[in-house]
Structure formats: C-alpha cells, structure tokens
C-alpha cells in the first residue's frame, strides 16, 4: 500500500472534509425553482432540490431540520445558501449551519418573488464560490474524519467477501481514531442479537434493542411485512434465500470494533468509534442520513450492482462479485472479486479499500460522482398535516 499524505479541508469547528461544495439548500418544495435558478447562474454550486418541507410537524419536522442543517454542516461543504418560501424556517436552518462557523446566508421568497431572490442569492453564491476556491487543502489524518458504510443489491458475495473487507477497513479506521457510521435497521433483522452483543456496554445494548424493536413494530403497524420485502428480488437472484442469511452477511461490515452509540436518524456522532444509526435500508435514504450525520466518505458494497451516489458525500463502490465487476464496471471503484477468484486475500482487499478511500480523500472522483449520481433523499416519518 502506498503511503499517501492526506489532504483535506479542516473546518473552523475542527471537522475535516474532502470536498468543498457551495451548497444551495431549499427549505421546501416550492423553493426548488429558485434554488435551481441560482445553480444555473452559478454552476459551481451544488443544489439539493427535494419534495418536502411544507406542513411537516413533530418528529418528522425535526428530522427535516436535522437533515437539512446536517447537510449544511457536513464537512464537505465550504459555504451554504438556504432558500425558503418564508423567513422563519429559513432562518432556523441558517442558524443551525452557522454553528460551524462556515459562511451561510438565507433568502426567503415571500414579498420578493423568485426572480429577485435568485438575483440576490446568485450574487451571494458567486462570492461564496470565489471565497471557498481559496480554502487550502491541509494535511489531515484519517482519525480526524467521519466515514460511513452500507451495502446494496446484496448477494452471497457481499457476506462472503465485500462486507468482511469493509469490516477490515472499519477496524483499521476506528483504531486510528476515526468516527464510523453504520445502520440499516431493517436489514439487521435476523442477526440483531449479534449486533446487540457487539455494543460496548449494557446501556448501548439496550438502546440498540429498544430502537430495533420500535423500528420493526413501526413497519408492522403500517401493514409492512419485513418477510414480504426481505430479501429483495435482487437479493434472491443473487442467491440469498432468507432474511436471516441476508442479515448475517450485512453485519459482516461492522468488523470487530465495539458499537459505541446508537444514533437517531441524521444525528451526528458525539465521539469517535463505531456507531449504529437508526435508518432505513433503502440505499439513497441511508446514504443521505449518513451525510447529515457528518460523513465525509462512504464505503458501499454491492453484490448485484447498486449504483447509488450523493451530491455531497462521495460513495466509493466495491464488489466481490466477478460478474458484477465485469458487467457494471463503470460503477465500481474497487474491484475485489479477486477474493472469489482466489487471487486476493482478505487483508489485501482491506488494503485496496483503504487505498481507494485515501485517493478519494485526496480528490479522485468516485464513479458515482463522475456518473452524476446525486441522490439526495429525505426520510419522511409520516404524512404532512
């Protein structure tokens, strides 16, 4: 493995990022047009259009704020513009992001209209783009950063090879002091007892079991049958037969490191180490929640070929399935199918992932970034009022 000097963006609050986006965040659905207008005028910005933000309430509204503020706070963001229809919610998001010390400004459309808002916000976005273009890339350490992982379109190669390889990387990163987020609550079903045993103490174990049971009851209360949806058709085509088998493969990526806390949706970890975030197993939703939790880079294993990306969070994709590595080559950053072809050992696969992570930190574009996969998908807890 080459010995990279890592360079990243050290933010005022100490967080370390690997990209330097000027993000434009709509507070609500009807502000998407203004957000996209600004992004069209100032193309080096990153707009995050989404379909929600009106008449949400309670926990669902809190999650919207946490997710939008979390994206502004994400260390891969250098500056943020927030646009909403009215000033109150807009200002709440601006204030949340401003805690990091990074440049942020809000604009509200009422009493101005789209065109004037676009003009004002574009002027500010232009200043921000110029300002962040001078942010230096400084030497940084892996131990200063937050990462995350998830698997998608899993098959038996995920549990045999690619998830254990991520487990090797997780163990190495946590040993260096990094913060690491995993999750996918419904996909540990069938192996939840093993995750429970991996927690650092009784309190965290109880937190995990409470969260897990509540999540599964919630699914059932809406008529959801986890057995009806897991394993998915893609999983079954890949040879996974039962929920338990899928879950046992899924949790291989937790490595052997103790889980130090259970996070709420989109919550930022409070200390280094491995964390389990309450989250859907739907790829784009889970990756979006990790971005809100402050992840700077995401390791994504796939069996049959999930292609997800995110606007701010580089998603590094790896597969151990030789067929997927061949047929979906343009989506795969790290081909570790050598594990199945017996030309690669597990530690070497861990090395390959670490190498790809370091190159991504130093600026190499991931396949998902290059192919314009910018899935920004909010988790919605219940209907709006």
């Amino acid at each position: 493995m080459s010995n990279h000097e890592l360079k990243g963006y050290r933010r005022e609050n100490g967080d370390v990022g690997i990209r330097n986006h000027v993000v434009i965040i709509p507070v609500d659905d009807i502000s998407n047009a203004a957000v996209e207008g600004v992004a069209k005028l100032i193309p080096q910005t990153t707009p995050l259009p989404h379909p929600y933000g009106r008449l949400q309430y309670g926990e669902d509204l809190e999650l919207l704020f946490r997710t939008l503020i979390g994206h502004g706070k994400n260390p891969n963001v250098g500056a943020a513009i927030v646009i909403g229809i009215e000033p109150n919610w807009t200002e709440r998001i601006v204030e949340g992001i401003a805690e990091t010390g990074k440049p942020v400004e809000g604009f509200s459309i009422e009493t101005h209209g789209d065109l004037e808002t676009i003009k004002e916000a574009a002027n500010r976005a232009k200043d921000f783009v110029q300002e962040v273009s001078e942010t230096p890339r400084e030497p940084v350490e892996l131990g200063e950063m937050t990462f995350s992982a998830k698997c998608g379109e899993s098959d038996t190669t995920t549990g045999l090879a690619s998830n254990p390889a991520v487990g090797v990387a997780v163990d190495r990163l946590v040993e260096k002091g990094s913060t690491f987020i995993i999750g996918e609550t419904s996909e540990v079903a069938g192996a939840e007892h093993i995750i429970a045993e991996q927690t650092i103490n009784e309190e965290v174990k109880q937190d995990f079991l409470d969260m897990y049971e509540e999540y599964m009851e919630e699914i059932e209360s809406h008529g959801g049958d986890i057995h009806g949806s897991q394993p998915t058709q893609g999983n079954i085509a890949g040879g996974l037969s039962t929920l338990e088998e899928k879950a046992l493969g899924n949790i291989e990526k937790a490595g052997t490191t103790p889980i130090t806390s259970v996070l709420d949706y989109a919550e930022k970890p409070k200390q280094p180490g491995l964390h389990f975030m309450k989250s859907s197993s739907a790829a784009a939703e889970m990756v979006t929640l990790c971005a809100a939790g402050g992840s700077a880079a995401h390791l994504f294993t796939t069996g049959q070929g999930n292609i997800v990306g995110h606007p701010l969070l580089p998603v590094i994709k790896t597969t151990a399935n030789p067929k997927t590595a061949r047929e979906m080559k343009e989506h795969i950053d790290v081909d570790i199918s050598g594990l199945l072809k017996q030309t690669m050992e597990m530690e070497e696969a861990g090395d390959a992932l670490m190498e790809a992570l370091k190159r991504t930190i130093n600026g190499r574009r991931t396949a998902a970034e290059t192919l314009r996969h910018k899935e920004f998908i909010l988790t919605k807890l219940f209907p709006s009022a």
């Binding site: 045999l160 079903a189 093993i194 040879g239 037969s241 338990e244 088998e245 493969g249 199945l340």
Partner: protein
Amino acid sequence: MRYKIYIHEENDDVGVAITDLGEGDQVKAKVLKSEDTVEKEVGVKEDVPLTHKVALVDMEKGHEVIEYDEVIGEATENIKAGEHVHTHNIKSIKV
C-alpha cells in the same frame, strides 16, 4: 481456481458457489473462518449458479440450516448433499 465453493464456518450445512457449478462436478470447498486450511469435497448433484448455495450435508425436512455458524432458516423438503439450496427448499423461521 483451486476452490469452487466457499464455506463461512466449519459447521455450516451450506457453502456458496464462487463459480457456476454443473451437475456431476466434483469440487473442492474451503472453510473461510478457520485458523488452519480446512477443505471439503463436494459432489455437485445439479447446476448451481455463481453466488448460490450448495448443500454440504443431507438435511431432512424441518432441519435448521446453518450458515455463518447461525440458523438461516429451515428445510421445507429433504435436501441431499450437493443439491442447490435456495428459496425452493428452505425458508426463514423468524417471525
């Protein structure tokens, strides 16, 4: 390729085909999570595609099927060593 099946743990009832297997193939399987190299011989009784499972032992209907040294489901019919193991002959037991 020396091995054509990987097995997670030594006591597992099933292994995973790491290449397409054909009826009548006599292949070597490797146990992944063991200190020493543990090999098994498997006579493949029907075609098993890459990434699908092969029975390593005979299992009766109702048998709890072990993979990762954990129960992954139960046999819904009698399964012979070397046969394809999937949704047609095992099912989840979690409710």
